[in-house]
Symmetry: C2
Subunit: 189 residues, 2 copies
DNA sequence: TTGACAAGACCGTCCAGACGGTACAGTAAA
DNA sequence: TTTACTGTACCGTCTGGACGGTCTTGTCAA
């Protein structure tokens, strides 16, 4: 069956992400991942019969983690509107120093089709937010700004200072919140 | 006669961008670029002695074009505030279907350091906008949203419909414009 | 006008190395 | 015995790059 001793699988996936981050996305070779994971190349190929499967594993793990984080955030932050929850979650995500998903570049280089699951996931997420947000304009602005934050994090771009990031998030929450307030009670100058 | 003028340089650069876009960033090999440009590999290596130089050429051309576009846009759109000009320019950029700068992925895979010129350029641009915009919050939101738009364009992600894109741009211009109005009414120079 | 010649622009071929992947024998625990 | 690997050897392919040769153009003296 599946996951009996999935220790290696996770280790390999984490190692792949580490290699991509530290040695650059172009250096993500099977040998590098294997040695980084403390696993022989044979063992790697046993868990992931092909490099494409490795990439697929990375994508699936990424999506799974994202979905789970969204779910728990929705539960914990229940009192807020979904857009605000998403903003806060994404901002926290991007707060972490390491560009967690730079393996994406490797995946794209390998085969651009690896992006399609991520793209459809994003689209579904956006559609869901669209259904849960009253003001389309606020949603668009906030969603795109968060996308920009993600982009900068992915490219390891440090254009914004910490203060500016916080101010941005506050502004976005204000925008997201104002739409909520409009919906609840149209009382704001 | 064959075009022996530095014509070849531009042709090669364009060919490289085409190959990266059409065959995927991972297939950006010297042979592919050479054949696409209608140039032998030797000829390519003559113009760009190494693959790194090719990438550098792509980056420099990208930055040069961007700067020039910004300049002409500033001249033509003189009556508007700089942030609005930037928003409009970027939106137009992202509107074009064909030329994603997907060669960036190849460059990153080759060596992440190729991003540093682009990163410093972005930072300078942001600093300049910061100096020219009265309301930091508006700037942050608009700049990041545009960054998000760029990101989606780069990843060839079609989450937004055309109407939504237009609505987004209108909203951003509104946000940018309101800061301008504040500046105009509150402080006169 | 012509011929010689140097420099620039480009071609075609070859090569060492890295990579993904295969095959297979061995091993230690459950 | 099966599962989950390890370790090594190996193959075919692709890639960046080096190299020497070739064609074109500009220059200048005679």
């Amino acid at each position: 069956m599946r996951a009996q001793r999935p220790n290696s699988r996770e280790k390999i996936l984490a190692a792949a992400a580490d290699v991509a981050r530290e040695s650059g996305p172009g250096s993500l070779s099977l040998d590098a991942v294997a040695s980084r994971a403390g696993v022989s190349k044979g063992g790697l190929l046993y868990n992931f019969p092909t490099k494409a499967k490795l990439m697929q594993g990375l994508v699936e793990g990424y999506l799974r983690d994202f979905e789970q984080a969204l779910e728990t955030a929705s539960s914990n932050d229940n009192d807020k509107n979904p857009l605000a929850v998403y903003i806060r979650l994404s901002a926290d995500d991007c707060e972490e120093k390491r560009p967690s998903a730079s393996w994406i570049f490797s995946a794209i280089a390998e085969d651009p089709d690896f992006m399609t699951p991520i793209k459809t996931f994003r689209r579904q997420l956006f559609e869901r937010l669209k259904g849960e947000t009253s003001d389309l304009k606020s949603l668009l602005v906030c969603y795109l700004a968060i996308e920009g934050l993600r982009s900068m994090n992915l490219f390891d771009s440090d254009v914004l200072s910490k203060d500016e990031r916080e101010l941005l998030v506050a502004s976005l929450l204000e925008i997201a919140g104002s739409s909520d307030a409009e919906q609840a009670s149209a009382t704001q100058s």
